[in-house]
């Protein structure tokens, strides 16, 4: 291997032991090499094993995870068999890691500076003053303003983006050769994500630290990495230069994934083409291509033998038997199909100057208003998209509209009658009309109840039907939400994210509402699944004549599903208009910023030459 090759992974295998003792092969025969200063993206959906692979590199596997085979050579030294002392020397010093959730990844009782200081200390820097200087320098480098003072602040005093920056500083403290970033921006807003990705890029260029970026977001891949590794079902299915892979995908999965990603360009009222089915259950995976079951171009041989990762053209490698034969790239996905939907009718829901402030109680600390005079209307059969970043008040709006919270001020009319502060009975009636789908499919389902009970809950609450009638209705609803009625007896815990969201939707539909408030219904889901859910919602709207409020932070999705879009910022609606108009001809600067930040899965035309490698920080 040449000096360029820094990290070399050869058919790495990782297994977990399920509680029932059965083995679970999370990663199977993964091989790739990482060159000095290279930026490599590992992309995939839930269960693709991308994170597990990342964690396996420096043996950070949680719980029962263990490496079953293969080698991880860091400049020749095999980490798969290294002892603890060796590993500790590698962790941080040679391979730095950044994790997904900046909210939990920082120790709440240690100051920002202390985090970095600890790493420096752990790797042999004994001089306190020097460490302090270096700490400040690093914080400054990752863009923490006023680092001298902020070094002594605690994590909760920083914004999400800043925390991620601190994490990056921590990871880079000991000047590693590799920065392993596991979904570093998933929890962040688009604008912040943009900044972080820029930062990572700069650092890579300046320090020559190789970057391995684990993500599920094709946009991020396009934005940040030269090379991409597409994973599915624990194996690498495609490996090649980002530009090549994104434009001319060789593997059906890659193609499907790209097709499922909503593009800002696609006009309103079109249907996303998702990948049918859901990610494979790794406990059941046998021989054959893991994707076979969801693949549209599947052939018999796919099911029999595991396809090897074979070079097709240039330095593109694909693990697909048919693709190996194919010299031409796959046909580009059909342009999103328009869906025929009835034109919106009369106004159903009307909000006027809604205001809401939290933390009102302890008069000592009055919170900033979450809603600051929000007015909107929702027509029958219409989908109103609401876009905004975290803290923009969009979730509050959803809750106020659904009467989960009552507004402090303003009025809310349902079919003309004022329902801002309804009486008990009135509230009951309103809730039958207005239902809600929640963002987090985990948190919004009572873990102690079976799916059946959860869906039946509103029926009981609204006194709809007797026991048997309810049972039938539940089955009906489950089917409606695209679930097998047989699952009624199981607990939420045994479902995947997408399925849970379907359960949530079934529950919301139970009292046959006319208005459905969807608070970020898809932001917690994989792209392929996301497409399914969005599709489901649009279908339901058409079939049941629902009025939808569709809240999300991803403009592209919103544009596709919505008739109109309202952009929220700091508790206000800064811009409203038809979906296409808002996205094509934004008037408000904030809207423009959002559009600019939205990562698109199209490779940057040209990437600037990497500057001379240098160990020193700029």
């Amino acid at each position: 291997m040449t000096a360029q090759e820094l990290l070399e992974v050869r058919d790495l295998g990782v297994e977990f032991t399920a509680p029932d003792g059965s083995p679970l092969r999370a990663v199977r025969g993964v091989s790739f090499t990482l060159r000095r200063g290279e930026t490599l993206a590992v992309v995939g959906e839930s269960g693709s094993g991308k994170s597990t692979t990342a964690l396996a590199l420096n043996r950070m596997l949680p719980g029962t995870g263990h490496i079953t085979g293969g080698t991880v050579r860091l400049e020749g030294r095999d980490l798969a068999t290294a002892d603890d002392a060796e590993l500790r020397a590698v962790r941080g010093a040679r391979i730095g890691m950044v994790f997904q959730d900046p909210m939990t990844a920082l120790n709440p009782v240690l100051t920002a500076g202390r985090h970095i200081d600890e790493v420096l200390r752990a790797h042999g820097n004994r001089d306190k003053a020097a460490r302090r200087a270096r700490t400040v320098e690093l914080l400054d480098r990752v863009g923490i303003p006023d680092p001298h003072r902020r070094a002594d602040d605690y994590p909760h005093q920083f914004s999400g983006g800043q925390r991620q920056r601190i994490l990056i500083a921590t990871a880079l403290a000991a000047e590693p050769d590799i920065l392993l970033a596991d979904e570093p921006t998933t929890a962040l807003d688009a604008t912040v994500q943009d900044q972080i990705l820029t930062l990572l890029g700069d650092l890579n260029r300046e320090t020559g630290t190789a970057l391995v970026l684990i993500t599920h977001n094709m946009g991020v891949v396009a934005r940040a990495c030269e090379r991409v590794l597409v994973m599915y079902g624990g194996t690498v299915v495609e490996d090649g230069p980002t530009a090549e892979v994104l434009t001319r995908p060789r593997h059906p999965y890659t193609a499907g994934l790209l097709a499922a990603v909503p593009r800002l360009a696609t006009p309103s009222g079109t249907r996303l083409t998702g990948i049918p089915g859901s990610p494979p259950d790794l406990t059941l995976l046998g021989d054959g291509c893991a994707f076979a079951d969801r693949c549209t171009l599947v052939e018999d041989r796919c099911r029999n033998a595991t396809p090897p990762l074979a070079r097709v053209t240039g330095d593109v490698r694909v693990a697909c038997l048919p693709a190996a034969g194919r010299t031409e790239p796959l046909p580009a996905p059909a342009p999103p199909a328009r869906i025929d939907r009835p034109a919106p009718g009369a106004v159903v829901l009307e909000a006027d100057g809604l205001t809401k402030t939290y933390g009102g109680r302890g008069a000592r600390k009055r919170g900033v208003p979450a809603l600051d005079g929000v007015s909107l209307t929702l027509a029958e059969g219409e989908t109103l998209g609401i876009v905004g970043e975290s803290g923009s008040g969009k979730s509050t709006l959803a809750r106020v509209l659904a009467h989960a919270h009552t507004a402090d001020g303003g009025t809310l009319r349902l079919r003309g009658e004022d329902v801002t502060r309804p009486s008990r009975r009135a509230l009951h009636a309103v809730r039958r009309q207005v239902q809600m789908v929640f963002q987090d499919p985990y948190a919004s389902l009572n873990p102690r109840m079976t799916v059946g009970e959860i869906v039946a809950e509103p029926l009981i609450a609204f006194g709809i039907g007797d026991r048997d009638a309810r049972r039938e209705r539940v089955a009906e609803l489950l089917v409606l939400a695209g679930l097998d009625p047989a699952v009624a007896g199981r607990h939420p815990r045994s479902f995947s994210g997408g399925q849970r969201q379907r359960i949530g939707i079934a529950r919301a539909l139970a009292p046959a509402p006319s208005v459905l408030i969807c608070d970020e219904p898809v932001s917690a889901l994989d792209v392929s699944v996301q497409a399914q859910i969005v599709g489901l919602l649009t279908d339901l709207q058409r079939d049941l004549g629902l009025s939808l409020v569709f809240i999300a932070h991803d403009l592209a999705v919103v544009r596709q599903v919505s008739h109109r879009i309202a952009v929220m910022h700091r508790g206000r609606i800064v811009e409203t208009g038809t979906a296409d108009e808002v996205c094509d001809r934004p008037r408000d600067p904030y809207t423009r910023a959002l559009l600019a930040a939205a990562p698109e899965p199209v490779p940057p035309a040209a990437r600037p030459e990497r500057v001379e490698k240098t160990r020193a920080l700029a």
Partner: protein, 295 residues
Amino acid sequence: MTQTTDLLTAAPPPAARKPRATPRSRHPYRTALSTARARTGLVLVGLVVLAGLLAPLLAGHGPTDQSGQSLAGPGTPGHLLGTDDLGRDLLSRVLYGIRTDLGIIAVAVPAGAALGCLLALVAAAHPVADTVVQRVFDLLLAFPGLILALAVTAILGPGRIPVVLVIALAEVPVFGRLLRGGVLVQREREYVTAARVGGGSGSRVLVRHILPNAADPLVVQIAVSLTVAVFIEGAMSFLGVGVRPPQPTLGAVLSQSMPYLAQAPQFAAGPLITVTALVLGLSLIAEALNREIRR
């Protein structure tokens, strides 16, 4: 998020990751109780309880039958564990002692727990009620238990009632605070909002949704409290305000054995071993439940 889901479906969640995704649909308590740790606990507790229930069959003598031979050593014909200072058979004393203790703690702890939870629910109803209830808890906690025991017994006269009362009173704030805390946490969970939007009335949401999820720590606490109860009973017997003599309790037998600790250690051994087994068993169960609930 996706990253989370990733590990979830890819790996059985190590405690680190989001808990609710264990790909199995059994009730966590059942899972907990089927662990080796819990099984051992169940066996230990079971043995003690059984011994208590079957006392009349197992014991050769009445627990209060006295004889001339005081402080007979273990293995004395007719007295497996020997006799106490008044020539009563120790085995029977211990067995019936367990019986009495079980009778007490089986009433006192649930009673205290129930009352505590009730107060906690009242507290959940309204901020004003909350402050009042909390002050009540503070007061109960602040009152030195054993001194209270002395006073209560002086008022009510000796017997089970004061013992039960004292134990119950001690448990009220413990459970009350636990549940109150749990409710406050669960209240903010999204599924509760969902239930409210789903049209559930305040009481229904509380009972059907919040309670079952807030109850977990209570279940663990019960196991802990039972051991504490045995503890209190012993202390009260030692202070001479326990169950009316000559009825044996583990605590009573123990405290009677104290003067003879040097000459006749077997006197103390019986009850000590029993209590230890009980405590060990309960703590094992508690631990198992705790681990499972935490996942």
